[in-house]
């Protein structure tokens, strides 16, 4: 139990720090809303393999609430929530069906994150014109998903079992 608390605490802290690093990068200058690396998703991705579905869900939720309060503002929390939850759900399914490697799981998570956010945007704006950004966001989700999957795979391999044992 104590080990579990320490492990979850460490992962939440890590995700929080990565959200902060991400908040420092001015992606807005790209001129396309919604493009990010999604560094914090690296932790959620690793948590799927380290803590199982419920652990990953918990860490993702705490991370979204914390970074929403600290960096992005309450307004964007619903976007993070929609993207984060859809992405986590899709990643869990993709992992379960055993048809994909870690990279495939992460890419599926990356694009579903963007699809979730664009759907919430269309709903709150009451306008489907945001789907104009859909193709670009698909590509961005694929790239960031692949990066997270590669890095996450390496991290999971290198982690000593004793420190953060499954």
């Amino acid at each position: 139990m104590n080990g579990k608390v320490a492990k979850y605490g460490m992962l939440v802290a890590l995700a929080f720090i990565l959200s902060w690093v991400e908040a420092l990068i001015p992606f807005g200058n790209l001129g396309i809303p919604g493009i990010k690396i999604g560094l914090a998703n690296l932790v959620v991705f690793a948590a799927i393999y380290l803590c199982g579905p419920w652990g990953a869900l918990l860490i993702s939720l705490v991370r979204i609430v914390l970074s929403g309060l600290a960096f992005n503002g309450m307004f964007y929390m619903i976007y993070s929530l929609a993207g984060g939850m859809l992405s986590l759900g899709v990643m869990l399914l993709c992992r379960k069906c055993r048809y994909f490697s870690k990279i495939g799981v992460s890419v599926a998570g990356g694009i579903s994150h963007n699809i979730g956010q664009i759907c919430v945007a269309a709903l709150t704006l009451g306008s489907s014109s945001v789907f104009y950004y859909f193709p670009v966001l698909l590509i961005a989700g694929t790239v960031s998903g692949a990066v997270i999957g590669c890095v996450g795979g390496i991290v999971l391999e290198k982690l000593p079992r004793g420190i953060i044992g499954g």
Binding site: P33, F75, V107, L125, P135, T142
Partner: protein, 122 residues
Amino acid sequence: MKKGDFILIGSILAVAAVSLLVYRYMGSVAAQWAVVTVDGQEYGRYPLDEDQEILIQGAAGGTNLLVIKDGYADVTDASCPDKLCVHQHKIRDNGETIVCLPNKVVVTAVNSGRPALDGVVR
């Protein structure tokens, strides 16, 4: 990497490429109007061949400054904290869009001057 990964990534990129091509084809025509919607309701429709500045009253008291100049529509100032709408590129071609999420403002370049129709059944 497994075979499933390649199929997944390949099909996503194919979908993205096809929709980009469709957009390019649709958007190759310069639009005549900048249509502004706030919270899903049409707010105004401004001709792109007339240089003007419009202060849009967005949702929750926010404002966006829409500038139409040389056939382009651009949001140059906004009350929101992140200014994502200001960073988005100026638009001219049919279907191009500038979005401000906090103020629920959408500016779309549109080709037709008629009121927007959901669909026409013949």
